[in-house]
């Protein structure tokens, strides 16, 4: 299969580099050189078109912000640097945020990389497994052990911080939004990306909520997490803060550390 492999490699290199197909490749095809070159270009257009469409499908709002022709140029440059590594096109584009952040042509839009990160998180949450909500441990926990509970988030959940107001940019670019398009770029944001009722939501978090979630996500106990939330935000609502996080779908399960569970 060595010869097959070498020809496939020539084909692949020619498609991705954008350079004219090597004579060795063109000569491996039936027909005259002109016809084979023309037909090879049909394949190149098809591959590039599929990959660019896949990136557009994952980053539709980023595309809307910069315009289709700019975005297509970015996607074409991206695929030369990050060839596809997977047979599932839905997984293509994972490194686009990293790429666009370093792409000189996008230097005047410094928030774009963070925004692309948000769109990648939205897609991950869209396809992630359904939440299995189980609050039985919380319900049956003796009150004196509340502080020792630990919590976990659903698979369809991501946390994201940015020095840019990604939430406002997301909101004004929503298909059904018709209000004021002004965005205050001096604002930063802390976000929770979560699926509720089959739809992906991008929620802005207050400092207290944010501290609570981050503490729970890094395996702190509920007692520690609530202290950290209060430290981050003196107005944090100790009575309702946890209930809100559960209702919003950020937390799906509670558990007690193993040694405690074994205590009769």
């Amino acid at each position: 299969m060595q010869q097959h492999s070498e020809r496939h490699q020539l084909f692949c290199d020619a498609v991705y580099t954008g350079a004219p197909a090597a004579p060795d490749l063109i000569n491996a095809f039936e027909g005259n050189k002109t016809s084979a070159t023309h037909r090879f270009e049909i394949y190149r257009r098809s591959v590039v078109g599929n990959l660019v469409r896949a990136v557009v499908a994952t980053y539709p709002v980023t595309c809307q912000i910069v315009g289709e022709s700019f975005f297509n140029a970015a996607a074409r440059a991206y695929l030369k640097n990050y060839p596809s590594q997977c047979g599932d096109l839905n997984e293509y584009g994972e490194h686009f945020a990293q790429f666009i952040g370093a792409w000189p042509h996008a230097a005047t839009l410094p928030y774009l990389a963070d925004f692309a990160n948000l769109e990648w998180a939205v897609q991950q949450v869209y396809y992630a497994a359904d939440a299995v909500t189980d609050l039985s441990t919380l319900a049956s926990c003796p009150p004196q052990y509340y502080g020792m509970l630990q919590a976990s988030c659903p698979v369809a959940f991501r946390r994201l911080d940015s020095a840019w107001p990604l939430d406002a940019i997301w909101r004004v670019n929503a298909p059904d939004y018709s209000g004021d398009m002004t965005v205050d770029f001096s604002q930063n944001c802390s976000l929770a990306i979560v699926r509720r009722n089959a739809r992906v939501h991008v929620d802005s978090l207050q400092p207290g909520q944010c501290a609570l979630l981050d503490a729970l996500l890094s395996n702190h106990t509920l007692g520690q997490a609530l202290s950290m939330a209060t430290a981050a935000d003196q107005d944090f609502d100790l009575n309702n803060g946890l209930a809100q996080a559960i209702q919003s779908g950020y937390i799906s399960q509670f558990y007690l550390p193993t040694p405690l569970q074994e205590t009769p």
Binding site: H8, R39, Q85, N90
Partner: protein
């Protein structure tokens, strides 16, 4: 050699079906149009949850489902992707499809994917290699898969057999089913100057499990398989001929670009159904 038949009770009926595409999800779910079965692209349901999978999990109770893959890269020289096979296997367990199919093509080399259906060189070494890979895939999935012929714009010089002999040999040697795409036969026949009827004549009737029909476009003298238009008159004619030879077969209308209203897609499927009805009546009359 694996010759497992689908173990599920549902089987693709010898009737017309449609490709279920994202813009039609809500309408198909709400109206449940009369169509024999639904086909989806397997990879679009590889996620472990979310709305597309919910839609399919509901629809599978109302229609036989065919999972049609585009990314396994059976004709590549790379090792088979176990993660891809595992995701497909998980999806099969969840959906219990009536059919699982893939393409006779390569789409990756040395771990880099082109995510397109590229032609393999039809010679003995490729045949041996791809037969082993189909065996391995059928073994891993624990069921028969159906292999579809692709459209091509280029042919490798080092080929030493025709595509139709290659395809027939795949099914003979691995026990895989065949998914005969008649538009692809027509497109390749025009592009490479062979007689589409010779291709269909060479198909082993008992191994052809499904037929695909679709529309194509022209780029100067080359026909391109775009799945963006109605089925053309020449392809309908070849389809009628194929049914005469092969008998009634499950037939899918594929429409992936410039996707029309669901009604237009269903009307195209109804044309295929009319052809199938005619063949079934002839078969019935002949049996009397």
């Amino acid at each position: 050699m694996v010759q497992k038949q689908p173990t599920q009770q549902s089987k693709l009926p010898a009737s017309a079906g449609i490709g279920l595409r994202d813009p039609h999800h809500a309408q198909v779910l709400a109206t449940r149009p009369a169509t024999g079965w639904l086909e989806v692209h397997s990879e679009n349901f590889f996620g472990s949850g979310g709305e597309p999978l919910h839609v399919l999990e509901q629809l599978r109770h109302h229609y036989p489902i065919s999972l049609h893959g585009v990314g396994l890269s059976l004709g590549a020289t790379d090792p088979l992707s176990l993660s891809h096979l595992q995701k497909l296997k998980n999806l099969i367990a969840r959906i219990e499809p009536a059919a699982v199919s893939e393409h006779l093509c390569w789409s990756s080399v040395a771990g880099t994917y082109l995510n397109d259906l590229l032609p393999v060189c039809y010679n003995q070494s490729a045949l041996d290699w791809i037969c082993n890979r189909i065996d391995a895939a059928q073994e891993y999935l624990g069921r028969q898969i159906w292999i579809e012929n692709i459209s091509s714009y280029l042919q490798w010089k080092h080929a030493d057999m025709t595509e139709w002999d290659f395809v027939a040999a795949l099914s003979r040697r691995t026990g895989c089913g065949l998914l005969l795409d008649i538009n692809n036969v027509y497109v390749s026949a025009c592009n490479h100057g062979f007689d589409a009827r010779s291709y269909i004549d060479a198909m082993p009737a008992a191994s052809v499990m499904e037929i695909h029909l679709a529309g194509h476009e022209h780029d100067s003298d080359v026909l391109i398989d775009t799945h963006s238009r109605p089925v053309c008159a020449e392809v309908w004619e070849l389809y009628a001929m194929a049914l005469q030879q092969l008998g009634a077969k499950p037939t899918l209308i594929e429409w992936d670009n410039d996707i029309p209203a669901l009604e237009v897609l269903l009307a195209e499927a109804a044309k295929a159904q009319a052809h199938i009805n005619l063949i079934s009546q002839q078969d019935y009359a002949a049996a009397l």
